[in-house]
Symmetry: C2
Subunit: 354 residues, 2 copies
């Protein structure tokens, strides 16, 4: 199989971790005899520094031409501390999601048995948890009109949904639910928000087309609570952009660490694969980042982007094996025991490749 893959390392720990996601893809190509042609492009703060733009035209062009994109992370403390800056790294990520029509963000909460202890949640609560989030990615308050009054004393963002936006991601989520345990939980705030009432109405309609799937509707506040109280009760979770952002970060604690979670954004054409962790300025360049989320993003690319199930499985199994042997990066090491061999980013990356 021949594929063109665009690597966008981005900001912060992005470059450190995508190095290993890319290396994993190269290794898989070598083992299975595929031809993966790589190109690289700038986005975020890294792009602003060079071109003044968070998403340069060149990056977008390359993205459109590629078969899949491996992305790192975005964001920089400079902008976080100064809310008045007009050009911001995150605009690059939001724009590429919109331009490529990446309306469905899949975030599997994959639980490695070896990491049960790494979570702040009790192992008996976690064991057996297997959640697949479908987060809507190109609508909601992320993309609605933003205003700031002239005196700068009033600011707004429009939370808005169109029925077709809810329908298309609902179909994807229901189809996935049919392949899994046939349970879907849709999360909204329909007791307060009109956009959530449209969301709920639409999901209720779509549900009728999937009578084999059991649907539950839950308010976001309750969902944020239930996810910790009893994560096992969730299977496919379908939700809007903002609620999905919050819930999936929260759910990372189920997997032991944000450093373990990958995501796939799909939609009209090219798929976009990235860790769910952010740029993590505080540990950038210190060889402390966990490269496994990027390697697992590569696995998602193989499976969801290219339909290469066996290749994806090899990567996931390798990560599992490395964990079983007791190797950990800092974020997933249990500080209270000496049972683990704690590795830096590069060592962990190399080990997985071996």
């Amino acid at each position: 199989m021949k594929k063109n893959i665009l690597v966008i390392p981005g900001d912060g720990i992005g470059p450190e971790v995508t190095t290993w996601g890319k290396a994993a893809l190269e290794k898989i190509a070598e083992i299975f005899g595929h031809e993966f042609v790589f190109d690289e492009a700038l986005m975020g703060h890294a792009a602003i520094e060079v071109t003044g733009e968070p998403l340069p035209d060149e990056t977008l062009e390359k993205a459109r031409k590629s078969d899949a994109i491996l992305f790192g992370a975005i964001g920089h403390a400079k902008y976080d501390n100064d809310p008045s800056l007009k050009v911001r790294p995150e605009q690059g990520l939001l724009k590429i999601r919109k331009e490529l029509g990446l309306f469905a963000n899949l975030r599997p909460i994959l639980l490695f048995d070896e990491l049960l202890q790494a979570s702040s949640i009790k192992p008996e609560i976690l064991k057996g948890t297997d959640i697949l989030f479908f987060r809507e990615l190109t609508g909601d308050v992320y993309f609605g009109e933003k205003t700031r009054s002239e005196d700068r004393n009033t600011a707004s963002d429009l939370m808005i949904y169109h029925r077709y936006e809810v329908e298309r991601i609902a179909h994807k989520a229901y189809q996935a639910a049919q392949q899994r345990s046939k349970k879907l939980c849709s999360v909204d705030k329909a007791n307060v928000l009109e956009s959530s009432r449209l969301w709920r109405e639409t999901v209720q309609e779509i549900a009728k087309q999937y009578p084999d799937v059991e649907t539950e509707h839950m308010f976001i506040d309750n969902a944020a609570m239930q996810l910790i109280k009893n994560p096992k009760k969730f299977d496919v979770v379908l939700t809007a952009n903002l609620f999905g952002d919050i819930l999936t970060d929260e759910a990372s604690q189920i997997a032991g660490s944000m450093g373990m979670l990958a995501s796939a954004s799909v939609g009209e054409s090219t798929g976009f694969f990235e860790p769910i962790h952010g740029s993590a300025h505080d540990i950038t360049g210190k060889d402390l980042a966990n490269p496994l989320a990027s390697i697992l993003s590569a696995a998602l690319m193989l499976e969801i982007g290219f339909g290469l199930k066996e290749e994806a499985k090899l990567l996931v199994d390798t990560v599992d094996a490395v964990l079983k042997e007791g190797f950990r990066t800092h974020d997933i090491a249990d500080q209270t025991t000496n049972r683990f061999k704690v590795l830096g980013t590069a060592e962990m990356g190399k080990l997985v490749l071996k």
Copy 2:
């Protein structure tokens, strides 16, 4: 001390639990020689059934005349399942918050040592946690304009903040932080939302007036994660209406159960005291609800509403003592051991009074 207290039982388990919150206030009045005069009023589904309105004028009038309000819960499955209904119970709660100017919702995450085991989070992660949330309560996407297109295919809610709204709650939160460990974390989504950028800017300005308090700004997705990963790192948390709704429900898992958490809404005059749990239709009328959150709401009324610290402490200590003796309601009983004496709502209520 003479005070007029309005009791609004509301929907679902509201009536069952407020019975005990009210009884606790009566007992305190008896012991300390206060005169609490009670009145009662309708709100939510209970009010719609009788008057057609979720917040009848009579209730609002009584509320304005009272010194404090003890509220139960709101909401009904009928409305949750039918997003198209125009008159909805929650409108009553939102309207009374707005009409009484209850802009600051204080939600202390009070951790009873006895309940460390009741949480799904590991006791060693929880121990020592003590968080006080300040949730903005009369702005945000809750109160911004709502629209639905004529073809019903597009729906929106305006997420909007004015600088003065952020300032007044920020002052309250900083003042509380000065009385506690002098740490404040402000939660927003300033990397995406303009209203959050106004929020962050404003908090940065107010922070200068409280140089003795250490301020941290955190994105909501990260906060939802950190709250589970390391709850001890939080002290005062300041956040917007929607984010506060989500975070505080999530944080209820720190306290072992939603059934243990009370909240105080304050602002221009009359204070409003309520459990953070909802109407819980599934257990309504089954004598399964936990009355402790309502009793602790009464304690907050005594302390924050009336400045009666000693009286409040007696209530909290009594709850603590009852837990120490091994009494539990269903939500906080550990099903795996027989160590606890599991009580119904009424038995638990009576026990605390004794």
